[in-house]
C-alpha cells in the first residue's frame, strides 16, 4: 500500500485556538466543523463549530444525549453524511490532509482502510447475505490485495485477535447466526482488517448485555495497548467513558461544551451541563435522590439563543441568553464553553 508522504508531516498547531492542545502529532483534528441539514423550505444547523483532536494511541470519548450531534460529527469525518446534510464550514484534518477537500474517490481510499468505523447494532451493519468469511476476504482483497489462501489465513488471524474462538467456524457463519457480542467482535475484526490509523466507534456497546459490554471494552483497550490504535468512542454512557477513554468531549445541541482528560471530567467538571449529567446518573452505590436536569434536550430547529443549555441551567444569567460562549481553556488540557465557569469553579 502506498501512502502519501505528506501524511507523515505533523499538523500545524494554532495557538490562538482555544480547546486545541499545544503539543504532539495529531491523527485527527477537527476544527470549527459546521454541518447543516438543508430541506427545500428550511435549513437547520446540526453542528455549530465543533473542535476535536485525537493523538496517536489516544481513546477520545464523545459523550452526549440524543440529538447532540455526536453521530453527525463522526459521519462528517468519514464522509458518510446523509444527502440532506451539508458541511458549511471548518476542516477535518486526518494527519495533514483535509478530508473535506477530497472527492468521493479519494475518500473511499481512506474510509474503511485508514479510518474504520463500528456501529451500535453490529448485526444490522453486517451484510446479511454474506458469510463473515466472505466479507473479511472482500475487505482484505480491496484494501490489502490479499487473495486465496493468504486471505483466509489473515482473516482467521483477525478473528482470533478479537477473541472469537474457532475462527474457521465463525467464517462460515452468516450474521444472523452470531450472537450480539460475537457480531460486534466480527465487526471489529472487519474494521481492523485494513490496519486503520483511526477507529470510530459509535455506541459500540449500547446494544449489548453488560457482561458482553465488559468484554468488548477490554478488547478495545487491548487494541490500543497492542497496536496503539487511536479511537474515537461515541457514547451516552459515562461508565463506558470511565473505563475506556483518556479524554472526553461533552456535546450538547451540536456543540462541545467541555473537554478534558477523563479523570478531570469526573473530579472537576466545569460546565453546569457536565455536572448535571454526572449527578443525574443512576449509580449502583447510590440508592436515592439523584438530581435530574430539568427540561429536555432542545430540538435543533428551535435551538435556544445564546448558550443552548441556558433554559435548563440553574446558573443562567442574562448574558447566557444572548451570547454564545466559546470554548475557553480553564486549565491545561481542559476547556469549557460557559460564560460563568470562573465563578462556578469556586
Amino acid at each position: 500500500m502506498e501512502e502519501p508522504a505528506t501524511s507523515m508531516l505533523r499538523s500545524v498547531n494554532d495557538p490562538l485556538r482555544p480547546g486545541v492542545n499545544s503539543s504532539g502529532e495529531r491523527v485527527l483534528s477537527i476544527e470549527g466543523l459546521r454541518v447543516e441539514f438543508r430541506l427545500p423550505d428550511e435549513s437547520t444547523e446540526v453542528l455549530c463549530g465543533v473542535d476535536l483532536t485525537a493523538r496517536p494511541g489516544e481513546i477520545v470519548g464523545v459523550v452526549g444525549e440524543s440529538g447532540s450531534g455526536k453521530t453527525v460529527a463522526a459521519l462528517a469525518v468519514v464522509g458518510l453524511l446523509p444527502s440532506a446534510a451539508h458541511v458549511s464550514g471548518g476542516s477535518v484534518r486526518f494527519f495533514n490532509e483535509n478530508l473535506l477537500d477530497l472527492d468521493s474517490r479519494q475518500m473511499r481510499a481512506i474510509r474503511g482502510s485508514r479510518i474504520s468505523m463500528i456501529f451500535q447494532n453490529p448485526r444490522a451493519s453486517l451484510n446479511p447475505v454474506f458469510t463473515v468469511g466472505r466479507m473479511l476476504r472482500e475487505v482484505l482483497l480491496v484494501h490489502s490485495g490479499l487473495r486465496g489462501r493468504k486471505a483466509t489465513v489473515r482473516a482467521q488471524e483477525l478473528l482470533a485477535d478479537v477473541g472469537l474462538p474457532d475462527p474457521s467456524a465463525v467464517m462460515r457463519r452468516y450474521p444472523h447466526q452470531l450472537s450480539g457480542g460475537m457480531a460486534q467482535r466480527a465487526m471489529i475484526a472487519l474494521a481492523l482488517s485494513s490496519s486503520p490509523d483511526l477507529l470510530l466507534a459509535d455506541e459500540p456497546t449500547t446494544a449489548l448485555d453488560v457482561t458482553i459490554q465488559h468484554q468488548i471494552i477490554q478488547l478495545l483497550l487491548r487494541l490500543r495497548k497492542r497496536q496503539n490504535l487511536t479511537q474515537i468512542v461515541i457514547t451516552h454512557n459515562f461508565g463506558v467513558v470511565a473505563e475506556l477513554c483518556d479524554r472526553v468531549a461533552v456535546m450538547y445541541a451540536g456543540a462541545i461544551l467541555e473537554e478534558a482528560p477523563v479523570g478531570r471530567i469526573f473530579e472537576a467538571p466545569g460546565h453546569p451541563y457536565t455536572r448535571g449529567l454526572l449527578s443525574a446518573r443512576a449509580r449502583v452505590e447510590q440508592s436515592s435522590g439523584i438530581r435530574s436536569i430539568p427540561g429536555q434536550v432542545p430540538e435543533l430547529k428551535n435551538r435556544p439563543t445564546g448558550c443552548s443549555f441556558h433554559p435548563r441551567c440553574e446558573h443562567a444569567r442574562d448574558i447566557c441568553r444572548v451570547s454564545t460562549p466559546r470554548l475557553e481553556s480553564s486549565a491545561p488540557n481542559h476547556s469549557i464553553a460557559c460564560h460563568r465557569w470562573r465563578e462556578l469553579a469556586q
Binding site: 457480542g181 446518573r281 452505590e285 429536555q296
Partner: protein, 343 residues
C-alpha cells in the same frame, strides 16, 4: 402478611421446530417463584434471553404460562378465563420500554389515557377530561399536552404518558419493563424520581424488569437474578449488589462499568456467552461459563436453597461450602485481573 402477588412454579416453554418433524422446547422461564408485597419493589434482573420479560408477561396473562400459579390479591389469575382476567387487569398494569412504540400514533395522548378509564367504567364520559387532566398533573405533564400526538412529545414526556395511562385504573401493581432504557441520561433521572415519588404517595407495588443495576439499586427493595429462565438468587437489593452469593450475580455486578475512572473493581469474567435455552441441561446452567465450576456442578441438579433469612441461592458449590464456611470466591479471583479467556 399475605403478599400482593404470589407466583409459584411458573414455567413458560415455547415449542421450536428444529427439523421438519422435530420440535424441541425453548425454556423461557423455568419454575419461577416469587412474591411482591403491597408497596414493595421487586426487581427481576438478568441479561437478554434470561426470561425476565416472559415472567412479566405471564404474570399479566399477556402470555399463558405453561404451568404454575399466579395469585394477585387473593385472585388466582392463572386459573381465570380470558374474560375474567380482563376485569382484573385494572389492578395490574404495565409500563413499556419504548414509550413511542407503545402509544397509538393515531390518537391524541389524552384519548390514550382516557381509554382505560372508560373501558373499565371508572368515570363517566362527562368527567373523563377532568380525570385525564388530573392524571397528567400526577405524572408532571401540563394539561396543554392532552391534545397532542405522541410523536410530538419528547421521550421523557412520552414515558410520562405511558405511566399516566398505567395509573388510570388505580392499579395495585405496576410491571415496569425496562422503563428508562430508551431514555437519555438527564431524562432517565426525572422518570426514576417520578416513579419513586408515585410509589411513596400511592403505595404502589412495582415489579421492575431491568438489566441496569443502577436503576435497580435506586428503585428496588429486593432483587431476583435470572439466568437462562431460572432464578439463580434472590435477596435484598443491598446484599445482592454488595455481595452476591451466586457467581452469576457477582459477575453481573462486576461487569457493570465503574462510576469513576479511578475506581477499581474485582472483575469476575464469564467465558463466552449464554448457552442455548433450547432443552437446557438439568445441572447448573451457568456451569459452562462459570470460573468456579467443579465437576460436581455437572453431576447434580442445582436447586434454589435458602442461605439465610430472605436470601436464596441456586449454586451447588455455594450451598455446599457456605455451610462449613469454606466458600470464598474472592480468594480465587484477583482484583482487576480477569480469568484468561479461551481463544
Amino acid at each position: 402478611m399475605k403478599p400482593l402477588l404470589e407466583v409459584t412454579g411458573l414455567s413458560k416453554h415455547y415449542p421450536v421446530r428444529t427439523k421438519l418433524w422435530k420440535f424441541r422446547n425453548l425454556v423461557a422461564a423455568d419454575d419461577v417463584s416469587l412474591t411482591v408485597q403491597a408497596g414493595e419493589t421487586l426487581a427481576i434482573v438478568g441479561e437478554s434471553g434470561s426470561g425476565k420479560s416472559t415472567v412479566g408477561k405471564c404474570i399479566l396473562r399477556l402470555e399463558a404460562p405453561t404451568s404454575g400459579h399466579v395469585v394477585l390479591d387473593g385472585q388466582p389469575i392463572s386459573e381465570l378465563s380470558e374474560v375474567e382476567v380482563r376485569s382484573l387487569r385494572a389492578q395490574m398494569q404495565m409500563v413499556y420500554q419504548d414509550p413511542l412504540e407503545s402509544l397509538n400514533p393515531r390518537h391524541k395522548v389524552g384519548k390514550l389515557v382516557a381509554e382505560p378509564l372508560l373501558l373499565h367504567g371508572i368515570v363517566s364520559r362527562k368527567e373523563v377530561r377532568k380525570r385525564v387532566s388530573e392524571l397528567f398533573h400526577l405524572v408532571g405533564l401540563g394539561s396543554e399536552h392532552i391534545d397532542r400526538y405522541a410523536h410530538t412529545l419528547s421521550g421523557g414526556q412520552q414515558q410520562r404518558v405511558g405511566i399516566a395511562r398505567a395509573l388510570a385504573t388505580s392499579p395495585k401493581l405496576l410491571v415496569l419493563d425496562e422503563p428508562t432504557s430508551a431514555l437519555d441520561v438527564s431524562v432517565e433521572a426525572q422518570i426514576l424520581n417520578l416513579l419513586q415519588d408515585l410509589q411513596r404517595r400511592m403505595k404502589l407495588a412495582f415489579l421492575l424488569i431491568s438489566h441496569d443495576l443502577a436503576v435497580v439499586s435506586m428503585l428496588a427493595d429486593r432483587v431476583a437474578v435470572m439466568y437462562l429462565g431460572q432464578i439463580v438468587e434472590t435477596g435484598p437489593t443491598r446484599d445482592i449488589l454488595a455481595s452476591g452469593y451466586h457467581p452469576y450475580s457477582r459477575a453481573l455486578v462486576s461487569a457493570t462499568p465503574v462510576d469513576h475512572p479511578h475506581q477499581r473493581k474485582v472483575r469476575i469474567a464469564l467465558d463466552g456467552e449464554p448457552t442455548s435455552p433450547i432443552d437446557p441441561p438439568q445441572h447448573c446452567r451457568l456451569e459452562p461459563r462459570c470460573p468456579f465450576a467443579l465437576p460436581v456442578c455437572r453431576e447434580q441438579v442445582a436447586d434454589l436453597k435458602q442461605a439465610e433469612e430472605r436470601r436464596f441461592t441456586r449454586c451447588i458449590r455455594f450451598n455446599r461450602e457456605h455451610v462449613n464456611g469454606s466458600w470464598d470466591p474472592d480468594a480465587s479471583v484477583q482484583p482487576g485481573i480477569a480469568k484468561p479467556r479461551a481463544g
